[in-house]
């Protein structure tokens, strides 16, 4: 995923570029630093400047290890923000409605990272029986680690490297599939959101639920507090606050979903922009396919 609204980028968005075939590309350190400085992101530029490089290219082993540390910290934050329980509370009624039909239900987590939510759902069986849980991410390092963790934990879920919306990657029977994500939408530019929802419409998924930060003063303050208090990595602290600042407002998400996925009833559950319910600082956009 590349650049986003306002021009500011998260450092992690720069560290794992891939080509059209999904192959990883080298990251020239000077280019990465220059793109950050051009956006006025001096602190981010210093962080990337301090990363080890060989022949001007960032050390991929270092970057991979850093990425795992960042995502482990992120998982810890996800635990504290009750991401697993949030997902289960919303998905269980959706899954129960699908259960009246034939065959298993599938839940696909797009951009799953280390697969915290899929693994949590699998470990708790929170969605009931006959639910296949699949995590998909474009980052092979994260998928390998998610797979290793799920095996170590003996969980009945699987992880796939690739594009979640490509044919035969994760969605087989769209009518019995629920697509979810957590903290993914703010990585997409506003102009790409309609395409994101359209891909789910094309697959004919039964429902989607994508959690992200509700952009407001409180969520930005909360992101700053929590990333200062909880995160050890400078990259995590930088990217975490930027995530809140560049998250998409509900109107933008709803407009994009209605444009891209017109066959779905969509909603975003959140309170007022300035006085949001604290619980809604992380809220989903939910789409259910019309009968």
């Amino acid at each position: 995923m590349a650049v986003v609204d306002g021009g500011r980028v998260e450092i992690t968005d720069l560290l794992w570029p891939v080509d059209a075939g999904g192959r990883r590309l080298p990251v020239p350190q000077r280019t990465a630093v220059a793109s950050l400085l051009a956006n006025g992101q001096r602190r981010a530029g210093r962080i990337v400047s301090a990363m080890p490089a060989a022949d001007g290219v960032l050390d991929s082993a270092y970057v991979d290890a850093l990425g795992l540390r960042v995502h482990r910290e992120l998982q810890r934050l996800g635990e504290e923000l009750q991401f697993g329980r949030r997902a289960a509370a919303l998905l269980k009624p959706l899954a129960d409605r699908l259960r009246t039909g034939p065959g298993p239900i599938r839940v696909v987590d797009v951009g799953c990272g280390l697969g915290y939510v899929p693994r949590w759902l699998a470990s708790t069986s929170a969605l009931g029986p006959d639910v296949h849980i699949v995590g998909v991410d474009r980052n092979p390092v994260l998928i390998a680690e998610a797979t290793r963790l799920s095996r170590a934990e003996g969980l009945a879920c699987r992880f796939v490297h690739g594009d979640a919306f490509a044919p035969d990657v994760a969605v087989e029977d769209g009518a019995r599939t629920i697509v979810i994500s957590s903290g993914l939408l703010h990585h997409l530019p506003a102009a790409e959101l309609a395409g994101f929802f359209a891909a789910q419409d094309r697959l004919g998924v039964a429902a989607f639920a994508h959690w992200d930060i509700a952009p407001c003063f409180w969520s930005t303050l909360g992101a700053w507090v929590f990333h200062r208090a909880r995160m050890r990595e400078a990259v995590s602290r930088h990217d975490g606050v930027l995530s809140a600042r560049r998250a998409h407002p509900a109107e933008t998400l709803l407009a994009a979903a209605e444009r891209g996925a017109p066959r779905y009833r969509v909603r975003v559950d959140e309170g007022s922009r300035w006085h949001p319910r604290a619980i809604d600082v992380l809220r989903p956009i939910v789409g259910e396919r019309r009968p």
Binding site: R72, R76, L77, M231
Partner: protein
């Protein structure tokens, strides 16, 4: 409160703080869903570490008070002042932890979002404020120095735990 009760209360708070510092240091290290064992191990390490780090200031205060008993009231005043700052902070944190441990996920989230996260960020400020208040209340240079050493010892637990038991080693543990 007697001097021994004040000393005991501060000791309990210090050990609790060290335990929580060790716990925080272990979080977000492995990626595993169930990390209770490593958390408990890290909490115990944090508790032991704070006791070890506090040994010097506690020994210095104890020796001073034993050798010059008339100075005991200075330590008592400093201890009272520290408790005045740390007591309400600790009470709120413990209440939030009780909520986190016993209620539903929405209450857990709120306890974390409203108290536990912000209070972790405020912790160094509170710790230093307690040290400063104690230094003024003690009205003595040696008491102030020992108070500062104690505050420094408590604040050093998490950074030391992060360095001694770093992420990559914790992952394979």
């Amino acid at each position: 409160m007697t001097t021994s009760v004040v000393a005991a209360a501060l000791s309990v708070l210090a050990v609790l703080d060290g335990t929580f510092a060790g716990f925080r240091s272990s979080l977000g290290r492995t990626g595993l869903l169930d990390h209770r064992r490593s958390d408990v191990r890290a909490s115990v390490r944090g508790g032991v570490l704070v006791v070890a780090l506090l040994a010097l200031p506690v020994a210095a205060a104890s020796i001073d008070a034993i050798v010059r008993p008339r100075r005991l009231h200075l330590y008592r005043s400093a201890g009272d002042a520290m408790l005045l700052v740390y007591g309400p902070y600790a009470a709120l944190v413990l209440l939030a932890l009780l909520v986190y441990a016993t209620l539903g996920w929405r209450q857990k989230y709120l306890a974390s979002a409203v108290i536990l996260g912000p209070f972790t960020l405020l912790r160094p400020v509170i710790a230093v404020a307690g040290g400063l208040v104690a230094a003024f209340a003690g009205e003595d240079v040696l008491v102030a120095i020992i108070g500062c050493l104690a505050v420094g010892a408590v604040l050093a637990v998490e950074p030391i735990a992060d360095r001694v038991w770093p992420a990559d080693r914790a992952v394979t543990a």
